[in-house]
């Protein structure tokens, strides 16, 4: 009855009532509903009439309800459809705002703007208002940050988007300038003209064998050396030229620009230092920040104290540099520390083992006996039973405890040994801080890594393999810690704490009293695990990055070559005698791999000079015992290390191709420089005979090329216009040039790109030579370069470079 009344009331009610009831559901699309309602009520009416004879109320009521419910459901469907359209846009806004007039809240300024103020971004679906985006980009570019990512996620911006949003040509030019500079710094063959006011750079392919470069800027034409990047020094090695320059500087008593600059600005001389990789001057403010620096230009990470490129474990090992320290250790202190570690380690280990084993063998039965005794204290048991129980327990533990002790020692001692004699020397000596090699207790040599190195070459490789093998086979130990470590590697946190964490892990997994007591060795072994794992993990990471760079086709070849390279490295061939020398410098590893694949790389002539140089050396070495070469190279490298050359433990976790190429560039440079500085630096008497001959031949080899080949190249250039174009193409057409290079014979020297590097304030002009050939496409193609695809192409064309890199990085710690 009541329902009927309701329906009747509804019928009698005006449309307004209906409308009001509709609006109570708060839906805009009310327009449909009333019509339906009218229909349904009409039908209700009709039904009612039909069913008048039957129990009207019920039927009508039922129909009424049904119709009302159907209206309701229709309205609900309408509601849902509206909301679904609202939620399909993922601005995180409410449906109401969308309807009110398409106003969206910007996540940066927290203000509402109309939808057209939110530019479309290609790389992600996040939207911010154009003013905020513009300001964000402005700030990022002015701080010379070129890996600009979305303010809400980590997706990098497409340069086209940046250009559209910025709508500021000057700033865009700056951005492109920084990008270009970053890319060039990453290019291993890029050399800046050393003339005082010249900002031009030269990308020199395969110029190591014929190192005379000429600046392409009109009016400059400075000739300079590919290896040392200084003014061209004919008939002199780079080192000799450097010494001469230093002498003349001293004679002139003119202070170097850096000192005068620092004095003018009031900063102390040791507050301004050049980046070890790109030589950009960096000031460190004394505001309590730590010594882990990241160069803003090239992104290389280094330690402020020792000015060497570091990995995060630099502060873990006893290299003398701490996070907040002000002074690095003197060489003496470093060597003492390292010697102490190496010598003291077996003593310490023996002591611990000697104490732990009897302690465990005696202690466990005693402990068990006591425990049983205590347990039976309170109980009211006969003495016999108690004694039986105690005797039983003690017997069992007497049997068990030696087993436990043996297992503990059997696990712990090899781990500690492997760390001390495998990983510590690698990490320490690779960081270039010492001249000590792992004598494996047979004798530690300082600065002369001669016979010892070679003699223990075999054993060292064995240790290396065991350490790496152990690392590989014991993934459970320290895996969690490594994960955490590598996670926090990006942050410049303290590393001492990782030692603590690692120590905990070790004590848990090994569960030995022996290890627990040895804090030093514990920490050492902790970082040993870390080092091992870091090595492995590093490899994996780099591989990943390589794959991402080089695309699908590249991966297969990279993988296979790398596998064979690494296995070759681990095998006991003569080339592997170089491996212990890797502790001196990463460049050794580079050499190994190049040598092992000379045939393959012959046609990838990118680092052709290196191939030839090293191949030549290895050949002469093989004839007269390959080891002297190794020795000399090791010595050289230790020299170089001591003279403060950088070590290339690049931060591999960073995204981007730049990083990898940068490390390779340095390794290349170092390797080649070392080759050229053979004769002057060598000291070991026994090898003096062999080395200078090789060195001389090599440097003369260089000078020969410098005279002849360049001429030949020039002449060929003048004749073959096609060639010339390819060679003088701008940066953007790098892939094309690469192709040329691949086809050429190894010894050809092709000076490919001449680019101007203007200072920031100036607007850069494209190279006139380049413009002839590419016109305005230069800029556009340059922009394309930045994009991952173009880079992939470029990298595809020199997979060997990336291979060397990868392998070399393999050994970085």
């Amino acid at each position: 009855m009541s329902i009927l009344d309701m329906s009747l009331h509804r019928q009698m009610g005006s449309d307004r009532d209906l409308q009001s009831s509709a609006s109570s559901v708060s839906l805009p699309s009310v327009k449909k509903a009333p019509k339906k309602r009218r229909i349904s009520i009409g039908s209700l009416f009709r039904r009612k009439k039909d069913n008048k004879r039957k129990s009207r109320e019920l039927n009508g009521g039922v129909d009424g309800i049904a119709s009302i419910e159907s209206i309701h459901s229709e309205m609900c469907i309408d509601k849902n459809s509206i909301f679904s359209t609202n939620t399909s846009s993922d601005n995180g806004l409410t449906s109401i705002s969308k309807q009110v007039g398409d106003f969206i809240e910007c996540p940066l300024c927290l203000l509402r703007h109309s939808k057209d103020r939110f530019p479309e971004i290609m790389t992600c679906h996040h939207r911010s208002c154009v003013d905020c985006l513009r300001q964000y980009l402005r700030i990022e570019i002015s701080e010379s940050r070129v890996n600009i990512s979305c303010p809400e996620c980590t997706e990098r911006f497409n340069p086209h988007d940046i250009r559209l949003i910025l709508s500021d040509d000057v700033l865009m030019e700056k951005y492109e300038e920084f990008m270009l500079r970053r890319w060039l710094v990453a290019d291993p063959d890029c050399r800046w003209c050393p003339a005082p006011d010249c900002g031009y750079a030269v990308i020199a392919f395969g110029c190591a064998s014929c190192p005379k470069l000429t600046c392409g800027r009109e009016g400059c034409g400075t000739e300079f050396c590919y290896h040392c990047k200084q003014i061209w020094h004919p008939n002199q090695t780079c080192d000799a030229a450097r010494q001469e320059r230093a002498q003349s500087l001293r004679l002139r008593t003119i202070r170097s620009s850096s000192i005068s600059y620092s004095q003018e600005s009031g900063a102390a001389a040791d507050d301004i230092k050049p980046c070890p990789r790109c030589a950009a001057y960096i000031i460190k403010m004394n505001d309590g920040s730590c010594n882990h620096m990241t160069c803003a230009v090239c992104g290389c990470e280094f330690c402020w104290l020792c000015m060497k490129e570091i990995s995060d474990l630099h502060y873990l090992s006893p290299s003398g540099c701490t996070f907040w320290g002000k002074k690095p250790w003197s060489r003496k202190k470093k060597i003492l520390w390292q010697l102490g570690t190496l010598v003291g380690a077996p003593v310490g280990i023996a002591l611990i083992a000697g104490i732990a084993i009897p302690a465990m063998i005696i202690g466990i039965p005693v402990y068990v006996g006591r425990k049983i005794h205590n347990r039976y204290e309170g109980k009211d048991v006969s003495k016999h039973k108690r004694n039986l129980a105690i005797a039983g327990g003690v017997t069992l533990s007497v049997i068990v405890s030696p087993v436990v002790a043996a297992v503990t020692v059997g696990i712990g001692v090899p781990i500690m040994l492997a760390y001390v004699y495998g990983v510590v020397p690698i990490s320490l000596c690779r960081s270039g801080g010492c001249g000590v090699s792992a004598g494996n207790g047979k004798g530690v040599r300082i600065e002369f890594d001669d016979e010892n190195d070679i003699n223990v070459g075999g054993t060292n490789t064995a240790i290396d393999t065991t350490s790496v093998a152990e690392a590989r086979h014991n993934p459970s130990i320290g895996e969690g810690s490594v994960g955490g470590l590598t996670g926090s590697l990006s942050a410049s946190g303290s590393h001492m704490d990782r030692i603590g964490a690692i120590r905990d892990n070790l004590s848990e997994t090994a569960s030995t009293m022996a290890l627990a007591g040895a804090s030093i060795t514990g920490s050492l072994s902790g970082s040993a695990m870390v080092n091992c794992f870091n090595r492995v993990e590093v490899q994996a990471d780099v591989q990943k990055e390589q794959y991402s760079l080089s695309g699908e086709s590249g991966t297969v070849s990279l993988g296979t070559v790398s596998d064979s390279a690494s296995t070759k490295a681990m095998a006991g061939s003569i080339l592997n005698s170089y491996i212990p020398l890797e502790k001196e410098g990463n460049s050794v590893e580079v050499q190994v791999d190049i040598e092992s694949k000379p045939s393959k790389f012959r046609h990838h002539s990118g680092s052709s000079s290196v191939d030839d140089g090293s191949a030549a050396r290895s050949q002469t070495g093989a004839s007269s015992s390959g080891l002297p070469d190794g020795k000399s190279s090791a010595t050289k490298w230790s020299k170089e290390a001591t003279t403060g050359k950088k070590s290339k433990s690049g931060k591999l976790r960073k995204k981007g191709n730049m990083k990898i190429n940068e490390t390779r560039e340095d390794m290349d440079a170092q390797l080649l420089e070392q080759q050229s500085t053979n004769s002057s630096e060598f000291e070991a008497p026994s090898l003096s005979d062999s080395m200078p001959s090789v060195a001389d031949s090599h440097s003369s080899h260089f000078s020969e090329f410098s005279c002849c080949d360049l001429e030949s190249v020039k002449t060929s250039c003048s004749h073959g216009s096609g060639d010339c174009h390819a060679r003088f193409a701008p940066v953007s057409s790098l892939p094309e040039v690469e192709h040329d290079r691949l086809e050429n014979s190894p010894h050809q020297c092709s000076i490919a790109v001449l680019t101007k590097m203007a200072p920031c304030s100036e607007v850069p002009q494209t190279n006139p030579a380049a413009e002839e050939h590419t016109g305005h496409s230069g800029l556009v193609s340059r922009v394309d370069l930045y994009y991952a695809d173009a880079l992939k192409e470029a990298n595809n064309n020199h997979p060997h470079q990336t291979l060397d890199l990868k392998v070399a990085i393999q050994t970085e710690i």
Partner: protein, 153 residues
């Protein structure tokens, strides 16, 4: 300019629904870019007292992260003796302009309650915490009781 607007808006929003671990959230009367608040951690030994914290927003906020500072002394591995704190989400490298201050404060509270031993600012405290928890708690409790600010009811 947009820094002021955003900071003001965030302050209003936070004051409207203050998290349970915060009290007395105010900005300086003449500078809205500096906030003061009272932090009430829930974990021992810090749950015995409260700590004054100040938040300083830079002029180009939100494109630069705010700086956090403890004005009350606290015995914590991630807080320097000077009161400076290093929170990962407000570090220069990790800062995202879309991060809200509410998230920052949440992260701060979490860090105080659960020290981050991965990057301590006070190495000796971190080592003590890992090696000898009891001693750490005792020292921390003593320190908190002597330097902490009394908790409001």
């Amino acid at each position: 300019m947009s820094a002021y607007k955003r900071v003001a808006k965030e302050l209003e929003d936070l004051q409207g629904s203050l998290p349970c671990y915060l009290r007395n959230l105010v900005s300086e009367p003449d500078n809205i870019l500096v906030w003061h608040m009272l932090l009430l951690p829930s974990e021992p030994p810090y749950n015995l007292k409260a700590f004054n914290v100040s938040l300083i927003f830079p002029e180009d906020y939100p494109f630069k992260p705010p700086k956090i500072r403890f004005t009350t002394k606290i015995y914590h591995p991630n807080v320097e003796e000077s009161g400076q704190v290093c929170l990962p989400i407000t570090s220069n490298e990790n800062w995202k302009p879309c991060t809200k201050t509410r998230q920052v404060l949440e992260a701060l509270n979490m860090m105080v309650n659960q020290p981050d031993l991965g990057q301590p600012l006070r190495i000796e405290l971190a080592e003590m915490l890992t090696q000898n928890r009891k001693q750490f708690y005792q020292s921390a409790q003593k320190f908190t009781l002597s330097y902490g600010v009394p908790r409001p009811t």
